[in-house]
């Protein structure tokens, strides 16, 4: 039993924290939220130079470190409320290719991702947005050695800044009730792919992606035909844990902001942090944050060990999401009116936390998963 970080994790943490605190200031964050793509190629190059774009990619494909290192870095990204296709590229794209891809595909995509030259994302949910296999109706029809793909995907992360989209679809007459799904990796520049930004509260970059008679082939299938869903499930576990890691980092930073403010702001002749109602709120924030952190680490560790993490992932996402709601609400309550203004940095965290809560399944979704595990 070890609740601490090892040397490499601590190093990654320091590296990421130093870099991000210096580079990713509040001003940058505000600009990125307004920006269409939400990141700059310069920043991406810097991340690549630091090898951060290779995290959790196998060494033979130019990567470095494991999933826990990635989780530690994502926590630091949470602290600065980082925006950009890092999550999509590493947690979704790279891990799907690593897990489901054949040798040729791995060589084609992974080194490029690790070097910061390629980015890929995943398109799963459709109109129900439920992350269940039976809502997938996109369909690829084989036709003269090719497939013609049609479908409409929603809430696709960073589709506007990636090079490839991995699309979960049915093949030919695969039955929605019984048969599996197939994963196609599609170049965004293929004719028939159209991407439309979804305006969200958090200003994070989510899109509606429509595939209209998109021509693709068996070469672009990740894993076997009809056997894609187990890969999606595993990547959804990763994605949820990674979201938790970001949310924990965000909550930690928000507690820090709150404590600073509570110690400095006075009312009725005292720093407001001396009032019991404020103290008790802050105490509960810390409990929520530490509980969230360990729940996240536990799930991440299991997954990194190759153990089943379905239960731990559901627990982490359900708990962290609710804890984050409480933390954000308390932060606003302590900050008072100033935290309610657009100029203040607090609401960037609040909004993003809510976006992350609902991505890859909300609280009730995960509680349902948990209830289903006996």
């Amino acid at each position: 039993m070890d609740f601490g970080l090892n040397e490499q994790q601590e190093m990654m943490q320091t590296l990421a924290r130093d870099f991000l605190t210096g580079e990713y200031t509040d001003t940058v964050l505000k600009a990125m939220v307004k920006d269409e793509q939400g990141y700059t190629p310069e920043l991406w190059q810097k991340l690549a130079k630091m090898n951060l774009t290779g995290l959790s990619i196998p060494e033979q494909y130019g990567g470095i470190g494991d999933f826990l290192d990635l989780i530690v870095v994502l926590g630091e990204m949470g602290r600065v409320c980082f925006l950009g296709p890092y999550f999509a590229a590493l947690v979704l794209g790279a891990s799907l290719v690593s897990e489901a891809g054949n040798e040729e595909q791995k060589r084609k995509y992974l080194p490029g991702i690790a070097e910061g030259k390629i980015k890929a994302t995943l398109a799963v949910v459709e109109s129900k947005a439920k992350y269940d296999i039976d809502e997938i109706e996109s369909r690829a029809i084989s036709q003269g050695g090719y497939y013609v793909l049609n479908g409409r995907k929603l809430f696709v992360l960073d589709a506007q800044s990636v090079d490839y989209i991995i699309c979960a679809a049915r093949v030919d007459d695969a039955d929605v009730e019984q048969d599996g799904i197939t994963l196609f990796i599609i170049d965004v520049n293929t004719p028939g792919v159209s991407i439309k930004a979804l305006p969200t509260v958090a200003g994070d970059k989510q899109s509606e992606v429509v595939f209209e008679n998109v021509k693709t082939s068996a070469k672009d299938i990740l894993g076997e035909e009809n056997e894609g869903w187990p890969y999606v499930e595993r990547v959804l576990h990763r994605a949820n844990i990674a979201r938790c890691a970001e949310m924990v980092g965000m909550a930690e930073q928000v507690l820090k902001l709150t404590l600073d403010y509570a110690k400095e702001r006075t009312a009725f002749g005292h720093p407001i942090g001396a009032f019991q109602s404020i103290q008790h709120r802050c105490a509960d924030m810390l409990v929520d944050i530490d509980g969230s952190k360990f729940a996240t680490y536990q799930a991440a560790w299991r997954l990194n060990q190759g153990l089943d993490a379905a239960r731990e992932t559901a627990i982490a996402k359900a708990f962290v999401s609710r804890a984050c709601r409480r933390v954000m609400a308390s932060a606003h309550q302590v900050h008072g009116a100033i935290g309610f203004t657009e100029d203040h940095i607090l609401h960037y965290y609040t909004k993003r936390a809510r976006a992350y809560e609902s991505s890859f399944g909300g609280i009730d979704y995960h509680l349902g998963k948990l209830a289903g595990l006996k």
Partner: protein
């Protein structure tokens, strides 16, 4: 005990409903714009003023005032009915500050001259008001007000900055509370309440945009702004008492329970129409419905007290806090109902309820802060309502 409205009150409600059915801009009803969300509409100020004037013409903004000042002397339940219907019909037009705070203050503490000068404008819906209390360093702690007005021959001259001034960007008049005696001890004895024409030279209003991206608040800067002495309400250095009696009023003026109940109704309708309901959500909807009803009753109690000539004090803090916190919880719940769709803003054609879910949620963070924080409310209830001692 009687939990029904009188036939006259019911008739008035029907009359208001018929009026709103006709007059409320279609977009406001279709998009289910709630009271706290209205500043986001580009035409809001214009619609707000025009609805106010229409209601003013009907005499509805002042009907609970004494006849002497143009009212009809009806019970406060008429104002409540009006505001419930406004909430139900997603209508702008009610100036919470002018009608809800300044008019009662004038009726209670204003001179005859002040009443004659200002009440007609409020009654007609033509004068809109703002209120400047808070300062950058003092939110909840009113007695700490620093902005100072120095006395001159026939006027006071104000310099300094106020903040969180709702509607300051278009209000005609301003209820200003500033320090007029720096030596006063305790310090709350050195405050004075002024009525200030917003066109007075030296007043600058800058927008403060809120986290929902809307312009509702302002900072107001005063640079050698001179205010005639006859604009003092309640006496020199007696502003604190005026404000205290106002706060109790402020807490009973907004019918937040009705706004919350309207939103809950719209939300359930949306969930129903889109087949989103399940036993877990139904259970939560029912719980919120019960609480909306309780919020309504806690508010009615205050109106009833007023109708009996009693002054609600901690009772209005209870009603205000419960309603606002409830609305906050419902707004949070709203984000669960439509899953990832909830996060879409009204700019998206896919946004549920025309983006209302996300914007109500964002606006709700202030509900436990505005009109006094929930902490202050609980302090008031405990100390004034239950007689618990202050620390030391």
């Amino acid at each position: 005990m009687d939990f029904a409205f009188s036939p006259e009150e019911e008739a008035f409600r029907a009359q208001v409903a018929a009026f709103l059915e006709k007059e409320v801009p279609r977009e406001y009803r279709e998009k289910r714009i709630t009271f706290f969300d209205m500043s986001a509409q580009s035409d809001w100020i214009q619609v707000h003023r025009s609805m106010a004037e229409k209601m003013g013409e009907k005499g509805w903004l002042s009907m609970h005032w004494p006849e002497k000042y143009g009212g009809r002397g009806v019970s406060p339940f008429y104002r409540l009915i009006l505001r419930e219907e406004l909430a139900r019909y997603h209508s702008p037009g009610y100036d919470s500050i002018g009608c809800g705070i300044v008019a009662p203050a004038l009726l209670l503490k204003g001179s005859e001259v002040q009443k004659k000068r200002h009440l007609p404008g409020i009654a007609s819906g033509k004068s809109m008001w703002c209120e400047t209390l808070s300062e950058p360093n003092h939110g909840s702690d009113l007695a700490a007000i620093e902005v100072f007005a120095r006395e001159e021959a026939d006027c006071f001259v104000v310099n300094g900055q106020k903040i969180w001034t709702t509607n300051g960007h278009f209000a005609d008049w301003n209820a200003l509370i500033v320090r007029t005696d720096r030596e006063a001890s305790p310090n709350y004895r050195g405050l004075t309440f002024f009525l200030v024409d917003m066109k007075t030279p030296g007043i600058t209003v800058n927008p403060v945009i809120n986290m929902a991206g809307h312009h509702e608040f302002n900072e107001v800067f005063f640079e050698d702004v001179s205010i005639p002495k006859e604009n003092i309400v309640g006496g020199l250095n007696k502003g604190f008492y005026v404000v205290m009696s106002l706060l109790d009023y402020e807490r009973t003026t907004d019918t937040v329970y009705a706004i919350a109940a309207t939103y809950l109704r719209d939300l359930e309708e949306y969930a129903c129409d889109n087949d989103l309901l399940n036993p877990v959500l139904e259970n939560r909807f029912a719980q919120f419905k019960a609480e909306c009803e309780v919020a309504r009753l806690l508010h009615y109690r205050c109106a009833w007290m007023q109708s009996q000539g009693m002054v609600p004090n901690h009772e209005s803090a209870m009603s205000k806090m419960f309603s606002f916190e409830l609305h906050q919880r419902i707004s949070d719940f709203g984000m669960e109902v439509a899953g990832p769709y909830s996060q879409l803003t009204e700019e998206s054609a896919l946004a549920p309820m025309f983006g209302r879910i996300s914007s109500c949620y964002l606006r709700s963070f202030a509900y436990s802060l505005e009109q006094g924080t929930s902490e202050i409310d609980r302090d008031v209830i405990a100390q004034r309502g239950l007689g618990l001692p202050r620390l030391r």
